[in-house]
Amino acid sequence: MSSLTLERGLYDFKAAIDAPIASFFSSCVHCGLCAEACLFYVETGDPKYTPIRKLEPLRRVWEQEYTILGRIKKAVGLSKPVTDDELEEWKELLYASCTMCGRCSQVCPVGNDIAYMVKKAREGMVSSGHAPPALVGAATRAVKIGSPMGVKWPAVQNQIKHVEADTGLKIPVDVQGAEYMPLLSSMEIINFPEYLGALAKIFKQAGITWTLASKAFEATNAGHQIGSSDIERELVVRVVDEAERLGVKFVIGPECGHAFNAIRWDGPELIGRPYKFRVLHIIELLEQLRAQGRLKVDSKVTERLTFHDPCNMARKSGIVNEQRNLLNMVATEFVDMPDNGIHNWCCGGGGGANSMEEYEHLRLKAFGRKRWQLESVQPELLVTACANCRLTMEEGLEHYKMEIPIAGLTEMIAEHLKEDESAA
């Protein structure tokens, strides 16, 4: 018998419902417009993917527990209780077909933040034992091994050696009192190792002190994706402890959307206090350096390129102009896709959806949105700033046989850095 029970889930649903959620549910008029903002509905045409419907179990708990009429209905047995079977059915809706991209939250005419509610609903899904196995695995590895992809510090050390050899630059580790502490995502470590080298080059040019933390190199937060605040907290605390122990002024979120969201916005709420350091997205930092004239390039990308705004970065953290300024510095022909910036369409793999292999077909179908966006501008190069988006889009482009290479913005800048600039 599992210790995760429906009862625990319902308690978490109840605990999750706050004034905004009560207001959101009270306001919903069933207009269905959120569906038109959701890439899963728009591409499949299946009404079950309507965003607000994904919250039906949470809504019923709200109605039965927190409304006057609902309490009466529950008391006289007129309301349908939430069951295990129902939650099992909703697993697909709350995880595989929702990336918490927040586009519905932006469209809802009454202003309901549906993504906010999905995040809260996942809490009860986890504690009632209805979280998807793929995310359970990732969370387990993250907690037990230190990284959802099973990357351990020695693997990073190995990367460091390669980067130091390639660039001739020293990668600082566990340096007390360094100004900046960048985090890495597992994907960057495994799939896009260029990122670390790019950081080293940029920081050298900008002349800032930085350090990796051997006990907190991993930025990804499987707890955030699965929706368990306990696990998310445990993973955040690792970073916070090390950053505060090393006394850094800034922790730098990597090119990884949910990781930045977890450390930037969720973390202080989870530990119940402000950090003793600030959190910046790497793109925010680069833009600061560019604006201060500490980031210079001596060549430019000449391909026609476009930028995919990761949801966690643009729509959810307001980082929109930063990447455009950087792109205009480093590229000659930057074009925006339709619906860009905070209105961008999700890659289809965020919020943990990407790790659920059994739903690859759905993800690829939903990628139709991105395909349409890309076909509208016909880029020769697609740039983004999120390793997870990048991976999802690579799969999508391959599936649709679209030969558009994808680059990370930080690496692209690093490649074109003015070489002879000496440290300040």
Partner: protein
């Protein structure tokens, strides 16, 4: 006439009482739930963007205008229509003046009449759309049809009363007032509550994203 006196007198009092108690109770029941304290370093303010969102949210995204045209256009028409018929029809202004002591100029009756017809057409189109469009059909519960009806009936009976199509007039006027009373009684306990909570929801939405520095 007895019926008209009843709906204008005791029934109206009952409806007002249920409406006011219901709305306030619902608002408190929502707001008292509160929100967790926020410790993350804010990137923007909450209050300003929250208030701004209350207005900004009325402007839909261009791609939604295309995809949700019926819902949006129909919704706009009937909401504006409701506003005009409720607040710019002289007899209604007299009522508001008697209760709240404020008054403003009304529109000529033929204009209100035309708006009423347009509003009813929009509501009927939206009902058909609700029945036929897969997403709305799936989302719809009996409550959605009930609220449609209690919204539609005051407009219909008001229009019939204005045109004096049903005789005798006190009956149709009484039915009009009664239908409004039904609407007032139903409003706090159904999705019609969005009349009030829409401001709270939009504010929260604007505040949540405003705090994160998202320029919407």
């Amino acid at each position: 006439m007895d019926f008209l006196l009843w709906v204008r007198g005791p029934a109206f009092n009952i409806a007002v009482a249920i409406f006011v108690i219901g709305v306030l109770a619902r608002l408190f029941e929502i707001l008292v739930l509160g929100r967790k304290s926020l410790y993350s370093e804010p990137k923007g303010a909450q209050m300003g963007p929250g208030v701004a969102e209350i207005f900004k949210r009325s402007v839909p995204l261009p791609d939604i205008v295309k995809r949700g045209a019926v819902t949006l256009v129909g919704g706009y028409i009937f909401h504006i229509g409701l506003f005009i018929t409720i607040f710019l029809f002289v007899p209604h202004i007299e009522f508001i003046h008697s209760v709240f002591g404020v008054r403003w100029p009304g529109l000529p009756n033929p204009v209100v009449d035309a708006v009423t017809v347009i509003t009813m057409v929009a509501l009927i189109v939206l009902l058909v759309h609700r029945i036929r469009q897969p997403v709305k059909r799936m989302l719809s519960t009996s409550e959605d049809y009930l609220t449609w009806l209690v919204t539609f009936l005051p407009i219909l009976t008001g229009w019939l009363a204005y045109h004096r199509i049903v005789n005798p007039y006190p009956l149709v006027l009484g039915l009009h007032i009664l239908s409004v009373e039904v609407l007032m009684v139903v409003l706090p306990f159904t999705k019609l509550m969005h009349t009030f909570t829409v401001f709270i929801s939009r504010w929260y939405n604007g505040a949540i994203y405003g705090r994160r520095g998202v320029q919407s």
